[in-house]
Symmetry: C2
Subunit: 336 residues, 2 copies
């Protein structure tokens, strides 16, 4: 938006462009104190600032990372971006940002565009972590966040699903619940669900899947469903037993809550409940709902930390992909 170049200020300072360049890069050893001061003056007066484009070209480096998020609108991705942005600033990277709006095709376009921009690295919040497109990405300059592939080919940072469920459900066990149930969308080999369920089994020591309740992915909240039936079966026959549920996310929690409402059961009173994911309304409800709050900010930070580290080391061959687990916060309220 300006017009001054390094030449202009070289002329004004009556020095060569090289000296100016040195000044700009802090190589003050290579000039007299007087020219240094003169340059400082001129530059501040002209509000000249070097062209990053030109500099990138000359140095053949580009301190920017490309970001592709599946869905900016998802409440869990904002904190991730916040963490990324924090670290980018800290490390002197700028971030160019793309949103795929849950569209795999668009994600591919975004990633390709990002690569053409010659970004130094890539951070991807994948639409479908099991897609094959990530195979083309080198693990040397990319990291995946938030969603874990069944077989991951690049480093990924995700919330510690298994352990958080384990410790939360252990708290329920400790309160003397006789029967605990895990309410989930169909497992379908999705790693998030599998890992959360694994945590549940770990805490409860259930050996088979008798305590796994599955609800279809897209059931209406406001119509009675099969789930009403199984809930009624459990609750009507519970006798003196304490019954508890752990729901794998907020949607299944709502499913449970709505069903219970239809059947005239109250949570906390007639049964205990805790859930993965935190939303504001869980705190507003009365009694408040215990939940696992994932630390998305930390995921963003860790992702950029990892990426920076990878970018700074020279690999003779691609590093083995790892997955790093980020611990969660357990929010215990009065729902169990």
């Amino acid at each position: 938006m300006e017009k001054f170049t390094i030449k202009d200020i070289a002329k004004l300072g009556e020095v060569s462009t090289a000296t100016v360049s040195n000044f700009l890069n802090g190589n003050y050893a290579k000039m007299s104190a007087t020219t240094r001061e003169r340059l400082a003056n001129i530059i501040s007066k002209t509000d000249y600032h070097p062209s990053t484009t030109a500099r990138n070209l000359a140095k053949n480096e580009n301190k920017t990372i490309g970001i592709s998020v599946a869905d900016i609108t998802n409440p869990f991705t904002s904190p991730v971006i916040s963490g990324l942005s924090e670290r980018c600033e800290k490390y002197g990277y700028k971030m160019v940002f793309t949103n795929s709006n849950n569209d795999e095709r668009r994600e591919v376009e975004n990633i390709n565009r990002l690569r053409e921009e010659e970004v130094a690295g890539l951070i991807i919040d994948p639409v479908n972590p099991d897609s094959s497109i990530y195979n083309q990405l080198s693990n040397a300059y990319t990291v995946i966040v938030d969603r874990q592939a069944r077989r991951n080919v690049v480093d990924t940072i995700v919330t510690d699903n298994m352990n958080s469920v384990d410790t939360m459900v252990k708290k329920m066990v400790a309160k003397g619940y006789d029967d605990l149930y895990f309410v989930s969308w169909p497992l379908d080999g999705v790693s998030t669900r599998l890992n959360r369920y694994a945590g549940f089994k770990l805490a409860t020591n259930y050996l088979n899947d008798d305590h796994l309740i599955t609800v279809p992915y897209n059931t209406s909240l406001n119509k009675s469903s099969d789930f009403d039936q199984t809930l009624e079966n459990i609750l009507a026959n519970k006798g003196d037993k304490k019954i508890g549920f752990f729901t794998m996310n907020s949607r299944t929690l709502l499913q449970l809550l709505k069903s219970a409402q239809r059947l005239n059961y109250n949570y906390a009173e007639d049964f205990g409940v805790a859930t993965y994911e935190e939303f504001e309304w869980m705190q507003l409800m009365n009694p408040g709902i215990s939940c696992v709050r994932q630390d998305s900010f930390a995921i963003g930070c860790a992702a950029m930390d990892l990426l920076k580290e990878k970018l700074e080391t020279q690999y003779d061959n691609e590093p083995e992909p790892q997955v790093k687990l980020i611990p969660t916060d357990l929010i215990v309220r009065d729902s169990f």
Copy 2:
């Protein structure tokens, strides 16, 4: 991340770099069909892609816009970004993104950094719209979103506060409410609040401020407050009158709801209520809460539309700053 340059593929194609450049830019008229095909082949085989940096330098243009958001974590900014990203893609811009985390100092840094990147334009979701720092920005290449300054110096896109409140409150009036109250944080000259209140007065025809209830900015939701008192005064003495409240945002709504709960009044039953802002829990509550849903996505779109238009026209002197209002959706549920 690659190594092929235009020279390499020129050599491979046994043509000059100029021809390759023409090919890349779609100037197929300037070459024979055979060389065109040959080039296409070679390029696809080598997975060569031109350096955007070099291209930007050569063309002295930079199809990127800089974005500075006050707080990525605010649920209303995600849709704005979504809209921006939509339009950026459409118009062929890429976006470099910064987050200020509600810190004015950081915002200044971000904006300066963005300008140094030689972005073509700037879109700013301001931390404090009344800050003086926006005075330094030319209206020729920047637009502000979401928050309106008292005296705005650059084009601004905001939600249509006044008209949405007006039409929502008119719906309450139509339902025969005898007394309507506007619950708000102290007006304090903040344009958002002023405009919403103006809409309220427009709908109710109240001439003075007797129906404005002010609650301090930072009162705890869970302790009884002065507000409890004034609410009790109104509700205890209402007689046969229908009483309604319009709250200026979700926080003041919660204030109202919690106070009512403490005083054993029920909304919808003992009084009517509607609010600015929509959150998921308003839909979950029973009865659902009527609210004004601002179309943040549209704000993002409009902002980028405007910016693009400005970028493409040559101004002899800076254009007069305008403010554009984005209409909202009125969600009527059962709370009044």
